[in-house]
């Protein structure tokens, strides 16, 4: 079964397996350093966006977007 970033538990490191969605979306994430193969930490999940850490930057990502990012379970 695949795990999305949305489903991943908080405080867990994982690795990005796949990013779904259009080229624009993929490019936008890539520019932020979120791309297939990078290690990603889910810092926390608010009722709104989820908070992740990639290398040394933190980002807030909306739930819809987070559900398009597939990570290693």
């Amino acid at each position: 079964m695949e795990t999305t970033l949305l489903q991943l538990e908080s405080n867990r490191w994982s690795k990005v397996k796949e990013i779904r969605g259009g080229m624009g979306f993929q490019k936008k994430l890539e520019n932020l350093g979120i791309r297939v193969g990078v290690r990603i930490l889910k810092v926390s999940q608010t009722p709104g966006p989820i908070i992740v850490k990639v290398s040394s930057s933190q980002f807030a990502i909306g739930r819809g977007m987070a559900s398009k990012i597939i990570v290693e379970g």
Partner: protein
């Protein structure tokens, strides 16, 4: 020669720009402080170089107006200075490598926030990085200005990049592996605070406490300055001067009414006399300035510390109800100071719909500090709870109108995707500089309009234009809003300045209910002219007309409803 500063958002381009040019620009600790191009000059020996500070961008394909602006500048520049956050090297290099592959112009990479790498256990080998990128690399620290001198020296001799490896990420991977060493470091108090402030459940009470505390400090400092500094200064030193002047000018002359205005029983009521030297100076300096000062003092701390993006995250869900995402808190908060920067910062949004909703809500339901200060000054003396009622009404208007717009405008609200900066201890020097920029903006942009407004009021009364308009608009004013028809004067002057307009309600001897209705309508019905100009430019004519229609009808409805409800409540 044109030098362009380009880089990711929130890497410190604006601070560097200030160091290079001596020009004063706003800088903060959140992505998107700069949404416009700023130009300044730098002397390089015998030539004068133009330095351009552009909005931050993550990539070469623009995703919003601010990024578009930044990328257009690449073609016009002669030297590219790519500002990089040294504590975030890997991500920042993505743009650097894109630029190096695309732009064959003299190029310098600046490793900014160099001082922070040490605390964070990051060690970067600059010599190796230079070799791999094939361009000059200079470490700098925006806070102290360290490295800026070296940068200036090297701008003239910068050389264009050579061809690099085609595969971007493997190239970046190689660079990181060779130049960057990370050593383990312990969690600091800042890390813990950062974590707690975005982790439910504690994040919410913390946010509420910070917001309440901020407003309390704004009130405390603003009120304190008025009661203990400005009001006594005016009464003790300025009033005797004006009284002397009044003695020498014939009371019934036009000059007297323009300069000094109406004196009731030999006393000056500064907020209602409406002379240039009385109300024209007292309103902006003794009533508005103290609050503008305290507001920007507090905002500066919140901005530089890095709390705003966190507040945006926590407010995200609520903002989705009005068709926006959490980052729309930036235009709203800036709008509380002045609607102009609030409207400008809607450039951060990608979608036209999002921009429209944000801009419309800012100009309808977010009172600027100049207006709020006057509401506190005029209504507050009758009871603090009435000021509370006004803010509550405006908040409800904001929320309900937002829900309606979200419901009826085509499209949906995009999601938040934003970088969260680390917390930083605000530097006193930076805070002071920022406050100074904003206050001088107030003096140069607001003060002339206040004086113009007061002059305008006198002319309107003198030519009996207000009496004429009062008759025409009487049905709306009296029947729907329950205001005396003379209050139309305030609405006319409100186009120029909202603070002067609120002041105009004073001499009309309004009841509490009428005052509440009056100041509420004054916020809603139309933006001041300075905001209007920005909105027109940002929204373009078609959306602007739509927005105006919404403003006027909202004012009509809300004014009527508030008047009705307050009369039921016997206020």
């Amino acid at each position: 020669m044109r030098v362009l500063l380009v880089g990711n958002p929130n890497v410190g381009k604006s601070v560097l720009f200030s160091h290079l040019t001596g020009a004063r620009v706003l800088a903060s600790n959140y992505p998107g402080t700069t949404v416009e191009i700023t130009k300044g000059f730098l002397k390089l020996g015998d030539i004068r170089a133009e330095v351009i500070d552009a909005p931050g961008t993550y990539g070469l394909t623009p995703t919003n107006k601010a990024e578009e602006v930044a990328l257009e500048l690449l073609n016009q520049a002669d030297v590219i200075v790519n500002v990089v956050d040294a504590t975030n090297l890997e991500r920042n290099l993505s743009l650097t490598v894109d630029l190096l592959q695309r732009v064959k112009k003299p190029f310098i990479v600046v490793l900014n926030m160099w001082d922070e790498t040490k605390h964070k256990g990051i060690d970067i080998d600059i010599e190796k990085l230079k070799k791999l990128l094939g361009v000059k690399v200079i470490p700098t620290c925006g806070l102290t200005g360290q490295g800026v001198k070296e940068l200036v020296e090297k701008i003239k001799t910068a050389s264009p990049p050579k061809d690099l490896e085609k595969e971007k990420w493997s190239f970046i991977g190689k660079i990181i592996e060779r130049v960057q060493k990370l050593s383990h470091r312990h969690h600091t108090i800042w890390d813990i605070l950062e974590e707690v402030s975005v982790k439910p459940p504690w994040a919410y009470p913390i946010a509420v406490a910070i917001v309440i505390l901020s407003f309390q400090v704004i009130r405390f400092v603003g009120e304190g300055l008025i009661n203990y500094v400005f009001a006594p200064l005016f009464t003790n030193f300025y009033t005797p001067l004006i009284m002397k002047l009044s003695f020498f000018i014939r009371k019934s002359s036009f000059l007297h009414s323009i300069l000094i205005g109406k004196l009731g029983g030999g006393e000056i009521d500064y907020s209602s006399a409406f002379g240039l030297l009385t109300t024209g100076l007292y309103v902006p300096i003794a009533m508005v300035l103290p609050y503008v000062f305290s507001f920007y003092l507090v905002l500066g701390v919140l901005e530089d510390w890095g709390y705003l993006p966190r507040l945006a995250i926590l407010a995200d869900r609520a903002f989705h109800k009005v068709g926006l995402h959490g980052y729309a808190i930036v235009p709203m908060v800036l709008g509380l100071g002045c609607n102009v920067p609030g409207a400008l910062s809607t450039r951060l949004f990608e979608e036209r719909r999002e921009k429209f909703i944000a801009a419309t809500l800012v100009s309808i339901a977010v009172p600027c500090m100049a207006q709020s200060a006057m509401v506190i000054g005029v209504l507050g003396r009758l009871g603090g709870q009435f000021v509370g009622i006004v803010f509550l009404i405006l908040f409800l208007v904001w929320f309900i109108l937002g829900i309606i717009l979200n419901r009826f405008l085509k499209g949906e609200s995009p999601e938040i995707l934003v970088e969260i900066p680390p917390y930083r201890l605000p530097s006193l020097k930076a805070l002071y500089k920022k406050l100074w920029i904003r206050l001088s903006w107030f003096f140069s942009e607001a003060l002339p309009y206040v004086l113009l407004g007061v002059l305008f009021v006198n002319i309107l009364y003198y030519l009996k234009i207000i009496d004429f308009l009062a008759v025409i608009f009487s049905p709306i004013m009296t029947r729907i809003w329950g205001l005396p028809d003379q209050a139309i004067g305030a609405l006319i002057v409100g186009f120029l300045r909202k603070d002067v307009a609120v002041g105009m309600l004073r001499p009309l001897n309004l009841s509490v209910r009428q005052l509440i209705v009056g100041v509420t309508i004054l916020t809603i019905y139309f933006p001041c002219v300075a905001t209007f100009v920005v909105l027109l430019r940002e929204l373009k004519i078609k959306d602007m007309l739509k927005s105006i229609a919404i403003m006027l009808s909202t004012a009509l409805v809300v004014g009527g409803v508030v008047n009705f409800i307050l009369s039921l409540l016997k206020i």
